[in-house]
């Protein structure tokens, strides 16, 4: 029996801005139903990669397949099946939260009744019921919740989240984690970036680590860490994601004598 197609397959992805290479020959596969962590230091090309595989940016070279089909920025059919929470959120500041979510829902083809029901439920669940404020007046955390709601309102099959938990309070993070777990239990896929390695360690099943400029240095199963196991690499054992990350990316703690 054929195994189901990969939720995401990236082959030889390259993204250049003039002479600057942001992503270099990146290839990776993400199985359906996986909570996938995509890690890397600042400026390593995580957001650029997400941009290229969600239709925001056009890759310079390489192929992207989503849900078994070739994907590019013009592929509206696939876009309808994915949800994206971009790093800069992509909100329209003068709108109220319900207006923004209703706009996104309508664009994703939801009918009026479903739109109203889902918007109301999402706003209620994410505690965004203050109708006196436009998105411009929301706090960073609240704006992030709205962007998260917009990414899931059409129940996508693959969800791309760029730094989803940053600036959100613990209760919000707990709720989102709970939703994401249920999301993958249903066979859907989550592809997320985060700098909070403890969260990734606990939440994700598989992790890819890239270094500048967008080079994959490691991809593997991290579920062993949750059961007090260890990841073996380069003849060493890593019992947490942080030392492995620092080892792979060459990031070192640096001291400043005056600080």
């Amino acid at each position: 029996m054929d195994s189901p197609a990969d939720a995401i397959r990236i082959s030889g992805l390259v993204k250049r801005y003039g002479a600057v290479t942001a992503v270099e020959n990146l290839s990776l596969r993400v199985r359906p139903g996986t909570m996938f962590g995509f890690l890397g230091p600042n400026g390593s090309g995580k957001s650029t990669t997400i941009g290229c595989i969600t239709g925001l940016l056009d890759p310079t070279a390489g192929q992207v397949e989503i849900l078994g089909q070739p994907f590019d920025s013009e592929n509206a059919a696939i876009k309808r099946r994915i949800g994206v929470m971009p790093e800069s959120l992509g909100l329209f500041d003068p709108l109220y939260a319900h207006e923004f979510l209703a706009f996104v829902a309508r664009m994703f083809g939801l009918d009026e009744t479903t739109t109203r029901k889902r918007v109301t439920e999402l706003l209620d669940a994410l505690e965004l019921t203050d109708t006196s404020k436009t998105l411009a007046d929301y706090s960073t955390g609240m704006r992030k919740r709205v962007a998260f709601a917009a990414s899931v309102i059409h129940t996508p099959e693959v969800l791309f989240l760029d730094e989803p938990f940053e600036s959100i309070d613990p209760a919000g993070v707990a709720l989102m984690k709970q939703w994401l777990r249920r999301f993958t239990e249903q066979g859907r896929t989550v592809f997320m970036t985060s700098h909070v390695l403890e969260t990734v360690e606990r939440l994700c099943e598989e992790v890819a680590i890239i270094t500048r400029p967008g080079k994959l240095v490691w991809q593997g199963d991290v579920t062993v860490l949750a059961s007090d196991g260890a990841i073996r690499f380069d003849g060493r054992e890593f019992r947490a994601l942080e030392p492995l990350f620092l080892h792979l990316t060459g990031e070192r703690y640096k001291d400043l004598s005056w600080l």
Binding site: E74, G90, D93
Partner: protein, 523 residues
């Protein structure tokens, strides 16, 4: 006073300006604006000084001529600053400067130093210096007194412009402020024409008004520039008093925090008029058109400019019609209808994504052709400008000074439709090729790129003067006898619009990453 840090912050403004030249578009803009600025400064300096001197020698009314010239320059400074936003730097708001270790007084000084050192104000300074130099050259005034008067008048003009801009900003930020401003602008526009017959009959009122004029900054500056005796000193003293009063008023208003509209809980509305209007379009555009309508109708700048379109066209018709005489109002009507086709949305149509900021990213993630949002935006502006045309046509039929002629109406409506299609087609191109990130929150100011400014300003000037210029050598061409010309031009403009729409869709795909970088402020 931390003069070193103040100097560093002023220099930083110019470093940021210079940093813009790192891009290709920035280099082109710098070349053109630098070149134009240089030519204009030289031209204004020589022309201003020389002509003022000559006029003085010939008329023997130096003070009055100088006062009239300074009044003109001062009003230009005020209008350009308040209406077009030239010269007001928003690079450093007070809140942004708070991160530096400087006191409130120093922050204010930094902001106003940056403001007054804007190249735009140099033009006015050049013109005023030219005037003083011209007067000195023809022996009409003292060089040093003239120089002092020019510097004081220049600073007073800047302070008055800032004060007025601040008052307008505060007014528009209040509930109903846009309506008050609109009524004020219309009243001011019609005031001279309404006052003229009254003043004509009441000469004592004119004398009293002239007496008050003798204490205004342009007049006292002119007195200082054209006298050698004590009256020059008294002119400087009055000018100094004006300067202090304006500075005190500006500081007092800046110290008062703006009244922010109290947040009010609104009931969640699912079917707004925006959605109903959007529903007039095909299904794939309906939510996008509704979105653009919602987005722009919440914008203070749009809410100020769009309702002014009809009154402005009426004013132009009234003003130019009166100038041209009762038998040649048709060219004025043609100008008014041409302008009506685009003036309400011009500033936004030429820089469609300028105020969207991070929201632009969302358009690219939606499951639709990414250019659909672009096309929907253009349809929205077209619709908003188009609805004004039948209203204007109806008003023209009711109040036209000439007997009704159906051919005239066809020609006028054709002119509006022509400018509607032609200008919005140009808007498609400038939105893609010369976009600029704007500030959604401000009601006034010039957020357009150099190319978009050229399209808007040159377009308006052509529409304003072309019919009148054409009427002189060829009156029949601007009369109802040639009624078929504008509908034909409108058909060609419509073709240009739809070809542009198709072509720019391809251009959008190619340039969308650059657009993203520009509207998000990364380029």
């Amino acid at each position: 006073m931390n003069l070193e840090l103040i100097g560093n912050l002023v220099r930083l403004r110019y470093k940021l300006l210079w940093a813009k030249t790192r891009t290709r578009n920035g280099k082109i803009a710098l070349f053109f604006s630098g070149y134009l600025l240089l030519v204009m400064v030289l031209f204004l300096l020589s022309l201003g000084g020389f002509s003022a001197g000559v006029t003085f020698v010939r008329s023997g009314k130096g003070t009055l001529v100088a006062a009239a010239v300074l009044t003109g320059i001062g009003l230009q400074g005020l209008l350009s600053t308040v209406v077009l936003g030239f010269g007001i730097s928003t690079i450093f708001a007070d809140t942004e400067l708070r991160r530096y270790p400087i006191k409130a007084r120093e922050r204010r000084l930094v902001r106003h130093l940056i403001g007054i050192l804007d190249p735009f104000w140099f033009l006015f300074l050049a013109l005023e210096l030219g005037l003083a130099f011209g007067l000195y050259l023809f022996g009409a005034g003292s060089f040093w007194m003239g120089l002092i008067a020019v510097i004081l008048f220049f600073i007073a003009n800047y302070l008055a412009a800032r004060l007025l801009a601040l008052l307008v900003d505060r007014l528009v930020a209040r509930k109903g402020g846009s309506i008050v401003l609109l009524a004020s602008v219309i009243s001011l526009g019609f005031l001279p024409s309404l006052l003229q017959p009254v003043l004509h009959k009441n000469s004592p009122v004119v004398v009293a008004a002239a007496h008050i004029f003798h204490y205004t900054p342009p007049y006292v500056a002119a007195v200082a520039m054209t006298h050698f005796d004590l009256s020059a000193v008294s002119g400087i003293a009055v000018l100094l008093a004006w300067l202090l009063a304006l500075a005190a008023a500006l500081v007092a208003i800046e110290r008062r925090p703006p009244k922010i509209r109290a947040a009010q809980a609104t009931s969640v509305s699912w079917n707004s008029p925006f959605d109903r209007l959007g529903a007039l379009f095909p299904e794939r555009y309906a939510p996008l058109v509704a979105h653009w309508l919602r987005f722009y109708f919440r914008n203070n700048r749009f809410r100020t400019i769009y309702p002014l379109a009809l009154p402005l066209a009426a004013f132009l018709l009234f003003f130019f019609g009166k100038q041209a005489g009762p038998h040649s109002t048709f060219p004025a009507s043609l100008s008014a209808f041409l302008i009506l086709g685009c003036i309400g949305t011009a500033q936004f149509a030429v820089n469609q994504f300028g105020y969207v900021s991070g929201g632009f990213r969302r358009f690219l993630l939606l499951p639709t052709d990414p250019a659909a949002a672009f096309r929907a935006g253009s349809f929205t502006f077209m619709m908003l400008s188009a609805v004004l045309i039948p209203v204007a046509a109806l008003l023209w039929c009711l109040f036209a000074p000439a007997p009704f002629d159906a051919r005239a109406l066809v020609m006028l409506v054709g002119a509006s439709v022509f400018s509607l299609f032609f200008f919005h087609a140009l808007g498609l191109w400038t939105s893609l090729l010369a976009p600029r990130r704007g500030n959604y929150a401000t009601a006034f100011g010039n957020d357009l790129s150099f190319a978009a400014n050229v399209v808007v300003i040159a377009g308006m000037l052509i529409m304003l003067f072309a019919p009148r210029l054409l009427a002189k050598p060829w009156p029949a061409a601007v009369s109802p006898a040639f009624w078929w010309t504008t509908p034909s031009a409108a058909a060609l403009a419509a073709a240009f619009y739809f070809v542009s729409l198709r072509t720019t869709t391809t251009v959008f795909r190619v340039r969308r990453e650059q657009l993203l970088a520009i509207v998000e402020g990364r380029s």
